[in-house]
Amino acid sequence: MAEPALSLRALEAGYVKGVPIVRGVSLDLAAGEILAVLGPNGAGKSTLVRAIAGLVRRFAGEIRLGGKSISNLPPHRIVAEGFAYVPQLANVFADLTVEENLALGGYMLRRGRAARAARVYELFPDLVGKRQVKAGRLSGGQRQMVAIGRALMVAPRVLALDEPSAGLAPIVVEHVFAMIRRVAEAGTAVLVVEQNVRAALAAADRALVLAEGTGRLAGTAVDVAADPAIARIYLGAPPAAAAAPAEAGP
């Protein structure tokens, strides 16, 4: 059986030692699959993805990418192993042009940077005429395209996006999720942290719902969308099924 593209086992992470924000989260994500990580504010969704990216301290547990442990690697080495992350805020270099943003996305590539950039422009044709425009001057939707394009420059094994729909108009959100589906169809595993439950579940294959740093509900996107427990989690009441932490696995 093929190794999952991304695998977490009992991950604990946070900003201050002894105060974990992510508590014992486990998940498996296969190539070409979209996993939505949902949960109310403060559930630890962003901390989870930042911990995988190496930006937040891991206290316990293991993170594996394609079967190889990346638990103790610095962020730039994690990128080299095939994990690309698009933060929610400040996800482009605003003072740099679109072209420079993409060049920095491919910083670790020794060759083939132009070909990768060409593929990004194919995926996001709106950016073609904006190559020399500073990213800070683009619209919210175009910025999101630059941010995703920057992450795709390394042709990642796993693409993680933190709130890709935040602050975008509904029509742009649809476009962004269509792009995410195209990326997954090309074989990249996608992990989407989202507040927009409806849009995320519509695009995802599976979902993991976090509350207070632990997995509370996991399953196919269809099952999670139909589960009445999700509403209770968002409203703050622990579901009856919350006694054992939920694990997202295929």
Binding site: G54, P74, P75, H76, P87, L96, A103, L104, Y107
Partner: protein
């Protein structure tokens, strides 16, 4: 006072300003990328000058090499020995900065207390300055004791060939730095880390490597400034300390974080100090440059080329 005297003061100020600019670039790069005011930066200027002096002494003691390198290159006051000494000083200063970062500043950075780095840089400056005094004493040193005759530079204006070289070399270094920052991956990475270190890290950029490059480039430019000061004025263990406030004034005036702002700020400070000598005398030279700084910041708080945040 005639127009010529004013123009001569501006020309002299531009020469001083060019040197300040080279130092201010390092201050502004360090502040933008490492996010602290490095008060030890002036000492890289001092050490750069003295590294070159040490290399010159070593070359002079090696008779065959000295004879092969020959005497001064007309119309300048120096020859190949000083050029080689300057290159040695650039490498040695970059190495000194990297060692200082590895053994001292990196540890303070890890503590994530910005003020610790600032105060630590004061301590590092004192140690570095006193090491120079220990090695060379407090008396001035010169690369050459030859007197250089100034040449005509426009109607009534005079400038030495070394000073023309100083301004030209500064312009060439700034142009090279511009190309480095805009055309190379490391240059773009430095701009990326300056704007958002976390985003840079998750883009695959080795932020620690960028920090090392920043130290090396800042110290190398400071070493050039030190050599040029030794060439056109004199070397003293206190030159870095004496230049510290003009360096920071230039960096802030131009817009902290902006390389081009630091160059512009250096020229404004150099020219205003030089012109102030004509107006109110040399004893108020520093006060005038700070007056200009305050005036410009009142009108444009982010500095001349700084971005509003």
């Amino acid at each position: 006072m005639t127009l010529t005297i004013w123009l001569q003061a501006i020309l002299d100020g531009a020469v001083i300003g060019a040197t300040i600019s080279l130092g201010a670039i390092g201050v502004t790069l360090t502040y933008a990328i490492l996010r602290f005011a490095n008060f030890a930066h002036g000492e890289f200027i001092t050490w750069g000058g003295y590294f070159a002096l040490a290399a010159l002494s070593a070359f002079a003691g090696w008779r065959d090499l000295s004879a092969w390198l020959g005497g001064p290159i007309e119309p300048f006051s120096f020859g190949w020995p000083l050029i080689l000494a300057a290159l040695t000083a650039i490498l040695a200063s970059a190495a000194l900065a990297l060692i200082l970062d590895a053994v001292f500043f990196r540890r303070l950075r890890r503590a994530k207390i910005a003020i610790a780095s600032v105060i630590g840089s004061f301590g590092a400056a004192l140690v570095l300055r006193n090491l120079v005094v220990l090695g060379y004493g407090a008396d001035p040193e010169y690369f050459s004791r030859e007197i250089q005759i100034a040449v005509h530079f426009g109607p009534g204006l005079r400038i030495t060939a070394d000073q023309i070289l100083l301004v030209g070399l500064t312009a060439a270094l700034v142009a090279t730095l511009h190309l480095f920052l805009t055309r190379t991956q490391m240059g773009r990475a430095m701009r990326g880390v300056r704007e958002n270190p976390d985003l840079a890290a998750v883009s695959g950029i080795d932020v620690a490597g960028v920090i090392r490059a920043t130290w090396a480039i800042g110290a190398a430019l400071a070493a050039v400034a030190g050599v040029l000061i030794g060439l056109t004025i004199q070397l003293r263990p206190s030159i870095g300390f004496d230049l510290l406030l003009p360096l920071f004034s230039a960096a802030i005036l131009g817009g902290i974080g902006s390389v081009y702002g630091a160059v512009l700020g250096g020229l404004v400070i150099g020219i205003s100090e030089s012109v102030a000598v004509l107006v109110i005398g040399p004893e108020y030279r520093a006060a005038i440059s700070f007056g200009v700084l305050i005036l410009i910041l009142l009108v444009r708080p982010q500095g001349i080329l700084g971005a509003r945040t």
